[in-house]
């Protein structure tokens, strides 16, 4: 499956949906900080991978796909659910990259300047996530 850049996907998103993601991201970052302050960095660290944004994102994807198909006279309900399921599967592949991000940060942060450590770990997240996604796509074609 070919990866494409499609700016039209952004046009479907309304301003209040961007605002919803901004607020959800801001709130979970504050909560993660409060948890770390209250119970220490050991427990706080777990919440750096809490799926706080996930319900809002999945609901928006489901809604956009449903509307897009209904405008063409197709069964939007089914396609909306399928799109959200595929998005969640992609997030599972991205989570494998997130494990790598956390492990690499754990190793790099004490040894290197912060921008280098965080930048390097983000590149590693992208590479590991992309590799996991590619392997899954190839296996799906084979079996």
């Amino acid at each position: 499956m070919t990866i494409k850049i499609d700016p039209a996907g952004l046009k479907n998103t309304r301003w209040h949906e961007y605002l919803l993601r901004f607020v959800a991201g801001g709130v979970i970052t504050v909560i993660a900080g409060v948890i770390a302050r209250q119970w220490g960095p050991v427990i706080g660290g777990l919440f750096l991978a809490f799926p706080a944004i996930f319900p809002a994102s999945a609901t928006l994807i489901e809604k956009h796909e449903r509307q897009r198909k209904q405008e063409k006279g197709l069964h939007g309900e089914e396609r909306g659910t399928d799109a959200a399921a595929l998005d969640a599967l992609g997030a599972a592949m991205g989570s494998i990259g997130l494990v790598a991000f956390a492990g690499i940060c754990w190793w790099l942060i004490p040894r290197y300047p912060a921008p280098l450590a965080l930048g390097g770990a983000t590149v590693a997240w992208l590479l590991v996530s992309f590799s996991a996604w590619t392997i899954r796509q190839r296996r799906r074609r084979l079996f």
Binding site: E65, A85, L89, F101, C105
Partner: protein, 113 residues
């Protein structure tokens, strides 16, 4: 500006940036990778390093590995709830949250405590 407000703005901006980048890509399964982007982690760790030091941030990262493994299982469960049981996205994502707590805390207790 209070620390909470700084956290809110930085967290909101980083999460929004990854959401916009993810929205640019097709197919949907590839765009989904960005649903597990290290957005909250980048915002939190950058602030933790500058305010609490590298050891504090490093400890957070160690625990985050368990949280990320929990997120992987959570996402797989959400995908299955949607594909097989045809639940709505909101119901599936909320019903699966106990699995994240269970696996994240169990992995942390077994391997990282």
């Amino acid at each position: 500006m209070s620390e909470a407000l700084v956290r809110f703005i930085i967290g909101g901006l980083v999460v929004s940036a990854f959401a916009i980048i993810g929205g640019l890509f097709k197919p949907v399964s590839f765009a989904g990778l960005f649903g597990a982007a290290p957005s909250v982690a980048l915002a939190t760790l950058a602030l933790a390093i500058s305010k609490d030091g590298k050891d504090y941030a490093g400890t957070e990262c160690r625990s985050m590995m368990a949280g990320a493994a929990g997120l992987c299982l959570y996402s797989l469960l959400v995908s299955q709830l949607l594909a097989r049981f045809r639940l709505s996205a909101l119901t599936a994502t909320l019903c699966a949250i106990p699995l994240w707590f269970l696996t994240s805390f169990a992995l942390w207790r077994l391997f990282l405590r």
